[in-house]
């Protein structure tokens, strides 16, 4: 089965895809059949920049456990850094 539920978010960052680095602007997270992973269902994450065309995409297909471990790792990494260090608002501050 597919849940057909898709979480769409705005993203600010960069990713490396099939044709090199690009700025990512959008993200989608959904539980569905994977394209490549050998699982019936995976947590699928697309990081994209629709303005640069469909090839500006990094696709990730994770098991539920792997997706939750990734979320936890992100939280831990952020918690270990001073608050705001990686914030998008810092880019406009003087170095």
């Amino acid at each position: 089965m597919c849940t057909y539920l898709t979480e769409k978010i705005r993203i600010d960052g960069a990713a490396k895809g099939a044709s090199g680095w690009f700025t990512v602007t959008d993200g989608m997270v959904y539980v569905d059949h994977p394209y490549h992973a050998c699982q019936e269902h995976t947590v699928n994450i697309d990081l994209t920049n629709p303005a640069e065309g469909p090839s500006a995409r990094v696709a990730i297909e994770l098991t539920e456990e792997a997706a939750l471990a990734l979320v936890e790792a992100i939280h831990k990494a952020l918690a270990a850094a001073p608050p705001g260090l990686a914030s998008g608002t810092r880019r406009s501050l003087p170095a």
């Binding site: 089965m1 057909y4 539920l5 898709t6 989608m28 059949h33 394209y35 490549h36 050998c38 699982q39």
Partner: protein, 247 residues
């Protein structure tokens, strides 16, 4: 009698004159051959779908699968095209009908065509097969686990598909439906509702719900593959097309 075939990428004219990439396969024997339009699943125009096209050619049909996501750009890989199309809510129904009509016209224009056209589709292509069969004059249709014919997609879904059951009166040909008992989209209840509606309308149809099979049981490259259902399903498909697409 020869079992040799030709297979490769061709261009067809789809909805509103758009040029579509398509994968075609046909027997090299002199025919006559019935034609089969294959509608790919939601994940797109992939290797496994091309294999299905060749399977029809091996059984004596001229077959073609148009890349419904061709408009996402030439040279873009099929999985990226599929992701972009999914994000846009899928393929609009009107566009699908035009694209299938273009693929059918390609088949009818082939030397040795017998003029008969069948359509088969998987997953989202199952629903689109039903749509094509209610919109175009064709000779046989096979819906493999197409969801959202009876009910609308969940509200959170990016897919903009509308239910089609109100169109059932326009069904132009016999319909074979192949479904999995463990599928939720469509559920066996939805399959039963569609079957009852077609009974009521006096529309020729034959539905099979396979046990121990869910969505995508024909997909040989995915864990959803269920050999028992797929082997039996293929027998039903070739029996059905054999009856309805013969010259």
């Amino acid at each position: 009698m020869t079992d040799a075939m030709w297979a490769g990428t061709v261009a067809v004219t789809g909805h509103e004159g758009a040029e579509l990439e398509a994968y075609a396969a046909r027997p090299l024997g002199s025919g006559p051959h019935g034609g089969v339009v294959v509608i790919h699943h939601l994940p797109g125009y992939d290797e496994a779908t091309k294999e299905i096209v060749r399977r029809f050619a091996a059984h004596g049909y001229a077959a073609i699968c148009p890349n419904l996501y061709s408009r996402e750009g030439a040279g873009v890989s099929p999985d990226d095209q599929a992701a972009a199309a999914r994000a846009k809510g899928g393929v609009p129904d009107e566009q699908l009908v035009g694209d299938v009509a273009g693929a059918a016209a390609y088949l009818k224009g082939l030397e040795h065509a017998n003029g008969k056209i069948g359509v088969i589709g998987y997953c989202s292509g199952g629903r689109q097969t039903f749509l094509a069969a209610c919109s175009l004059r064709i000779d046989a249709a096979v819906d493999c686990y197409g969801a959202f014919v009876v009910t609308a997609p969940p509200a959170e879904s990016p897919l903009k598909a509308e239910p089609l059951i109100s169109r059932a009166g326009d069904l132009s040909c016999p319909l074979l439906g192949l479904f999995g008992a463990d599928d939720r989209f469509p559920s066996p209840d939805e399959v039963a509702v569609l079957s009852a509606e077609l009974d009521e309308l006096g529309k020729e149809h034959e539905f099979h719900v396979f046990p121990d099979a869910g969505h995508g049981f024909f997909s040989v490259d995915r864990p959803a593959y269920r050999p028992a259902a797929a082997v039996e399903g293929w027998k039903k498909v070739f029996g059905f097309f054999g009856r309805h697409l013969a010259a």
